[in-house]
Amino acid sequence: MSHKKIVLLFLCCLIPVSAIRAQEGLRLKHQLESLTGVGFRANRASDNPADILAANNLSYMKLTMLRYSFYIKPNWGLYASFDIYPGASSEIDEAKLTAPFEDKYYVTNKCNYDPFESGPTFTAGLQYRLGKNRWFTRFRVGASLYDLPPGEFECTLKGKGNNEVYTVTYSPNDSPYSDGNIDLNLDLGISIDYRFNNVIALTAEAGYRQSFARNKAYMTVRDSYTQMRDGYSYQSVEQTYWKGKGMSNEFSINIGMSFLMHKKKRINRPVR
């Protein structure tokens, strides 16, 4: 017996696949899910620094820690989910951001900071399901109250032919003091469940998120010499704020497990 066969046999023992009567699938009122996957941003770049900062090829791991669905009707339900985004990494088109300075300064110490925040995001909305026997399809429309911001970009300007040194920071905020923006997002999702029995299901899903807040960027130019005076702060020389044309959007692909329950009496007898 090969290793593959042993593993398969082991898996078969773990998941008791039982016959499911078609009518009962839609009567399961509660569904708990936990999923993992990847997400990526698909923003288009323009000449606006806010859009350049947002079109940063952001990718991250998407963990839906928990999603709870409650079906008020056999087909219609409400859902609420809790996501986090660890391991975000981004890549900003640095050349476009430093271009305005290139003729008067040498641009050095370019640094692209990955997004610092990693959630959590709370999403809630409406869900519609259809299917029978083992295969179920679910469609979701919801709203989420948080977005993963683009990363920051920092560089040093060294004057050409003089001693001037400046530090330039681009941050995706509307002021240098705000460090997070809570935006309203539209969340769309489609899931496909494969039920092993009336309790456990394997879930694969695709999601799309659209933000309703336009991209923003805040640039601060600070005199590096003034940093030395008190050791901590710089004196800012120039501050500029941009509102971009685009709004950020993200795609995600997840897989995970679902657990289904029915509160009153167990419809399915555990089949051995």
Binding site: Y106, T108, K158, G159, K160, N162, N163, V165, Y225, R229
Partner: protein
């Protein structure tokens, strides 16, 4: 049954706390090496490019003049043995820069032009932070430490020469003169 569960939780708590905590070590008494400033030299850098360069034909553009004050000590710094730099027996309280020739209309010969210089913010070789500009004496030095000062006053074109005076907390002073340099 419930009692057993309570006891097992308590036992688990005890086990995890004993397994994850360790006795706090006292800091070892480190004997920091002492040192004193043995030498000082002043050199010129041409800062027109990305990084400072040695002046070409002893000429530097007057907007891009950078001064290096190199301090040498008799301290031996061993990274493996000590976590701190050797301490100065006599710390540096003040650094003054004087011009030997007139700098411009405002600063005649032998004037104190310390305020015309600013601490260069980018990192360079052996660069140390000059805390005297913030009012704190320099207390620790490597065997060779450099202070970089960028000139921000516009000097008259011509040959210039500078004198740097260190004042220690004990009141002793140390002087060094730069070589003449042509600023254009």
């Amino acid at each position: 049954m419930r009692k057993a569960a309570c006891w097992s939780i308590l036992l688990l708590l005890l086990l995890t706390t004993t397994a994850t905590s360790c006795e706090e070590d006292e800091w070892p008494d480190e004997e920091y090496p002492l040192c004193s400033v043995t030498g000082m030299s002043v050199s010129h850098w041409d800062n027109t490019g990305v990084m400072p360069q040695l002046p070409n034909q002893n000429k530097i553009a007057k907007e891009a003049y950078l001064m290096e004050i190199l301090l040498t000590t008799d301290g031996i710094y061993d990274d493996w043995k000590y976590s701190m730099l050797p301490a100065l027996q006599d710390s540096i309280a003040k650094i003054n820069i004087y011009t030997i020739h007139p700098l411009n209309q405002e600063y005649p010969a032998d004037a104190d032009i310390t305020s015309c210089f600013k601490e260069y913010p980018l990192s360079l070789k052996n660069k140390i932070d000059d805390s005297t500009v913030r009012g704190y004496p320099i207390t620790h030095l490597k065997a060779a430490s450099s202070l970089y000062k960028a000139l921000f006053a516009v000097p008259d074109a011509g040959t210039h020469q500078f004198r740097v005076v260190l004042t220690f907390t004990s009141g002793l002073t140390m002087e060094a003169e730069s070589k003449p340099i042509e600023l254009y």
